[in-house]
Symmetry: C2
Subunit: 396 residues, 2 copies
């Protein structure tokens, strides 16, 4: 489905109306929670954006577009919180080529049956010339191409996983009608160079205008993410819109931005641990087996008292906020894949739970909290500054 | 991948060694956390099992097998915590037929190339007769069949979603070698009646022996779940093993069961809410938009004091355990899809968090807890017995 709109706000509204599961369509899927309307907003904080490796960029001889791409990046680089890194675009290009050069053309044949079987003469000859071979393509070629596509998809997904999104030119150049009529298949394939991989690889894309070329032609970039990345891309586009000084279409409408909540990355949830879940300690597997990685060894704000709770093993600490008599406590922050954080929380026995813990800079992160009654029979260890120091003292 | 073993314990061990992502295989997938070795154990608590509708069962004339199936169910029904419900098996059977009667035979052709192209005479003629047509199958037939398969998969997934697993006879009957040689294709298709849908529908299956027929033939059933249901099925099988009085293979080995932890259903996490998340209240969307459903309106154990916290809107309560002066508090329990529970927890601001709350029967469920400092400036409302009563009092 494609939405044409003047702003990210408008696209989000149209998408909210158009989206939803169609139970009569076997390919229809539930929109996951992280991609629902409420997840649309200004994408705050640092961004990590993938760019096509310079030697893999293609502008098909159009220097104006090449310069417009550079200009776009120059403007985006003014925001120091956006980090750019080049990636290998080759597997995306190989997937793109499968669309018209591989057996997927057969899907177009099926979509135009019985028209193309019964009245082929009514079709535009160029289009018919592309679609007709789809009738005779072999199942063995399709399976072979699907196997290859699956390999490419695995590769491309792994690449995208390192970024908030991929940013490409939307088109390498524009062509005049005469140029298109002259070599329709080649020109179409060039026009789709940065887009033809999207459907085959099950990805979502968002194109937005950024600058005009010196020749006065419109230029824009496309943001790419895996399927159901729509709200993430819309949120990034909303942030980008303010960075480019562009009119809203040709009618000079004024830009009125809807107020939205800042939205963070939905892929991971950071969790602060301070006891048996620390790296190397007995419950750390509950993080590592969920695919969590250690993000940072740090300290809380200087407002916590720490207690060694009664009972065990495993022996467990309790953090209690105390603005007056608290101290900074050694902790670790782990990045847990969002979809597995829930089972982690559900597995924590009373009196502990997951709430919010304050860091030195005043920000809060999900972390272990302790119910008041859980402190009965416990021993205060705040003065040791952390759980590892306490374990060391126990062992000595 | 198929594992043959004497017990669920052994299967789990072999699977633990054999499993893992193969980055050189485009179809290889990460084993999700809920299917890892540690999730194997005795499947405790109630089970909801899907059975094939009686009129859709096929035993191909074998009364001994029909009786053995009834005997198996009779034994399983002795466990009152197992609930059975009949389901429509037709879409599974239609998918099964696609395996040999549809263009997937072409995958077998590709797997046997170049042998079947260059030296067809070395292949067993019956096998060659099945595979050879795969060479000429059309891509258009394959796409058409894949579309249909996708519809069937959506239907079958929705059916399975209502159950812990589907239980079928493993085979409708056994055939003698003479019978197989006489009509190899038909007999093979009958043997695969209850299994041929599995790979095409991306499901996991576990076959276990249950009883002998009156004629002394072995009979067994197959448990079916979506892909990555392995540990769930193994855990259910471990529970079933103790219900059938069977020798361990022909060599009379003794059954030694490994100690394991009880394992519950990993699909949903129940969460107890007591304030603004109650049905109809301002934050309830945080549950419903995650696909959560109301499981129960109930009360806590009589050990909680309830406070209306300072600040707001939204106005929020805090539950604090107090064995001496506590009371039973009105609460709701919502079933949240596991993969979305993490983002729910991460969105809860201090001083609240998710820990464990005790119910009347002494069991604990995930639910809202409150840090001690959060009670500053709050008002005790325990005597009202719940948040709705407090809102009513506020409004009056």
């Amino acid at each position: 489905m494609t939405i044409f709109a003047l702003t990210a706000d408008q696209s989000n509204t149209v998408l909210s109306i158009a989206e939803g599961v169609d139970c009569d369509d076997g390919y229809s899927r539930e929109n996951p929670f992280y991609n629902q309307t409420r997840q649309y907003g200004e994408r705050s904080g640092p961004l990590r954006i993938g760019l096509i490796r310079s030697d893999q960029l293609a502008f098909f001889g159009d220097e104006g577009y090449a310069n417009a791409y550079s200009d776009t990046l120059k403007i985006l680089r003014e925001d120091a919180s956006i980090e750019f890194e080049e990636l290998d675009f080759a597997p995306f290009v190989e997937a793109a080529k499968l669309l018209y050069e591989g057996p997927w053309v057969t899907e177009r044949y099926l979509a135009t049956q019985p028209l193309i079987d019964d009245s082929p003469e009514v079709m535009f000859p160029v289009v018919r010339g592309i679609i007709e071979p789809g009738k005779d393509a072999l199942a063995s070629d399709l399976f072979t191409a699907q196997y290859r596509l699956q390999e490419l998809k695995q590769e491309c997904d792994a690449i995208l996983d390192r970024f908030d999104c991929l940013l490409t030119p939307t088109a390498g150049r524009f062509f005049t009608v005469d140029e298109l009529l002259e070599e329709p298949v080649l020109r179409n394939s060039q026009l789709g160079h940065y887009t033809n991989f999207m459907n085959l690889l099950d990805m979502s894309g968002l194109a937005l205008p950024t600058v005009f070329t010196q020749q006065g032609l419109p230029f824009g970039v496309t943001l790419v993410a895996p399927a159901f990345g729509d709200r993430r891309l819309l949120s990034i586009a909303k942030r980008f819109e303010t960075m480019f000084d562009l009119p809203l279409g040709a009618l000079g409408e004024s830009r009125e931005s809807l107020p939205v909540n800042p939205v963070a990355s939905p892929k991971h949830i950071d969790v602060l641990v301070c006891g048996a879940h620390l790296k190397g300690l007995p419950l750390n597997w509950q993080l590592t087996e969920r695919g969590a990685t250690l993000k940072e060894c740090t300290q809380t704000a200087s407002v916590y008292r720490m207690y060694a709770l009664a009972g065990g093993p495993p022996f467990r600490p309790g953090l209690v906020l105390d603005e007056q008599q608290g101290a900074a406590i050694d902790v670790e922050i782990w990045r847990v894949p969002s979809e597995h954080f829930g089972s982690f929380v559900a597995g924590i026995p009373a009196p502990l739970g997951i709430g919010k813990v304050r860091l030195q800079d005043g920000s809060y992160v999900s972390g272990f909290i302790c119910e008041p009654y859980g402190l009965e029979g416990s021993k205060e260890i705040t003065q040791l500054g952390g759980w590892r120091a306490y374990l060391k003292e126990l062992a000595s």
